[in-house]
Symmetry: D3
Subunit: 151 residues, 6 copies
């Protein structure tokens, strides 16, 4: 992890980065239940998931996959950018314990800030894929970024 | 935690629920760094936060507050509803270690599903407030819910 | 989790509630060893459990099952009740990693407090069952509850 | 941690051992909430504890103190003894985050097993004390122990 | 855990102690990634370990095995000894998730302190073995110990 | 985290990198006690540390600081390098809960492998500094690195 200044002008639509993989473990799900307080049987009751719900096993919390996915794209610290939210988070397929996910992040839009001329907005589409190549989650990560020469 | 069937017809715009409070602790932030892999100094370096970044202390990860807030609204299990995503997640103010947050969830929209007549869509606005009454995060939680008599 | 006032008069012998299931995981046992400081081989050494002790696998700490069982019965917050202890905790069968437990809590006794007329005592029998229907742990949870009109 | 055989005849009423101290931390309470699923405001909401409940701060879960206390007395592995339960667990005073506890364990009763002549029963009174010398929790730990020459 | 004074004169070359076993779990590796911030695929990506790296599974962090091994040899508290470092830490074979390790600690050298006559130095060779008898890690633990009559 | 091939020829004596800071928290120490099984009062008993041992507070486990320091220097994945151990680990000053550490890693030696001509050895001096600029820990991280054109 390094501190690297990247200004608004340094982001281009289509720019893409792809992470290494990470296996979503039982420990991750147990810790996330403990952190979020969500002990729904979908995440915690192996017997119910398999025998009653037909889920094929316990599934990871949506908020766990968001946390891991966004965390995996947190590479270098950019003092010129600030994350202000996400749009269109969609849980497309369940992630089961034992699945291995990778994340792709692609710049999809760069626009001027509507009210502040020294800033721009950068949208990054984050796509999470499992080991079979299925997309399991997507979201748009929203940044405000300083324009060069304005700080 | 109980299993309670609530159908599409049981949700009404304006319906509101409010959680008890939860203090966001240093342990939460450390565990979330460990879960997400995001060790940015904003969350991990007290000295930098106070002396260089002027943040007043270490701030919680956005994804931690999402996980806690959504978890706090996960009350009973409703077999008729499925969460399929979130819209318009916005980080409005930072949450510092030691802040105590409460969550309000209000039904803001109920609509027919565009293609499947047996289902409806329910939007729930989730608002997170700190101990000073400031809104720190908001998001819209999206559900698909079965209509009565259709299952 | 909601705050709901229930007074002494609201509890009746025979009243019963039953939780959903929860799978006791390896992560739970590892975390509980770390919390309690109890690293006995019964919980931590798979080889010893299987090859030497004939246990069929690592078994959960008794205090872990108590914590989970009591936690699973902690539904709503009742400002009129205070837990003051447990009686007759018995470890009836071991819980192995991977077992799924459910908990039943039944009111078994309601009596006046011996010295304080504004209070009563409520005993709740907590019974933990595994996925085969075997009782693995039982205890009596002891509450002091305010009588109606006395606060 | 060592394996040391101690038989029924090796336990004498009055025998006492005393542990070192351990500070009960915020991290312990957060982890125990996550393990037990008990997120009651008594443990998690600093503002409520201080401003509304008059508790002086967040208090540790009873099951956390049981787990730590029993864990602190788990010294050597004794293949001749088996823990089968606890009696008379009493929460005498609250343990607040930051309190430092020590544990005393004293043999209070040794008796023949009512039905199995090769076994005896040993009761150990476990007393937990805070840094001010107040007793905060007590319980009786129940063991079945093999008699010498009977295995 | 007890406090037991052992002076320099009480350590003899060749003295050996051997711990019980401990299974290195997936939860240990996940927690250690979270603690160290090291999310290398060798530890976190099951698919990559098996299909690309030919490792046979995820391997434990070296620093995890050091922490467990040294922790397993931390028996009683000796106020007369202070650990000042380790020499020659060598990762000899990988430890995979599910392996069970035991630790042997042998005094290999006792010498006077070069500058302080009231102290001596004790070297302890710590050897970690897996369930197949392979040595997986070794290190020399370095202590400074008070001589009798000098404190 | 990216995969970047760096060969033996790419390392030069004197090359240096410096991490951002990380505050060592109470949660880190509690989690490390739980992971290592080392519950010595130096790490766990605030009262003893301050009132009896004169340590000024609880101090972090040496193995925790090793794990964090090595983890902080684990930047990109280099398939051409393999860590085979550490030399001369020295605990120079205690790290107290709340201290903020940074890590410097400097290449101090590059040599041919004594027996395998296709490999070289790279030594990296890892130095951990607290917020007052004191060196608290140092170690030499040992790598074997492939020479260019030999794989």
């Amino acid at each position: 992890m390094q501190v690297i200044d990247r200004y608004f002008e340094d982001f281009a639509v289509g720019e893409i980065r792809r992470t290494l993989g990470r296996t979503v473990t039982e420990a991750d799900v147990v810790l996330h239940a403990g952190q979020s307080g969500d002990f729904f049987p979908h995440h915690m009751d192996e017997r119910w998931c398999v025998e009653e719900a037909g889920l094929g096993g316990r599934i990871a919390h949506g908020t766990l996959i968001i946390a891991i996915a966004v965390g995996m794209t947190a590479g270098d610290v950019n003092p010129q950018a600030m994350s202000y939210g996400y749009d269109r988070i969609r849980f497309i397929k369940p992630v089961l314990i034992g699945d291995t996910i990778t994340v792709t992040a692609q710049i999809t839009e760069v626009t001027d800030h509507p009210r502040r001329p020294e800033l721009g907005r950068v949208d990054e589409l984050v796509t999470v894929t499992n080991q079979r190549g299925d997309t399991v989650l997507s979201l748009v990560h929203l940044y405000v970024v300083t324009k060069r020469g304005s700080e």
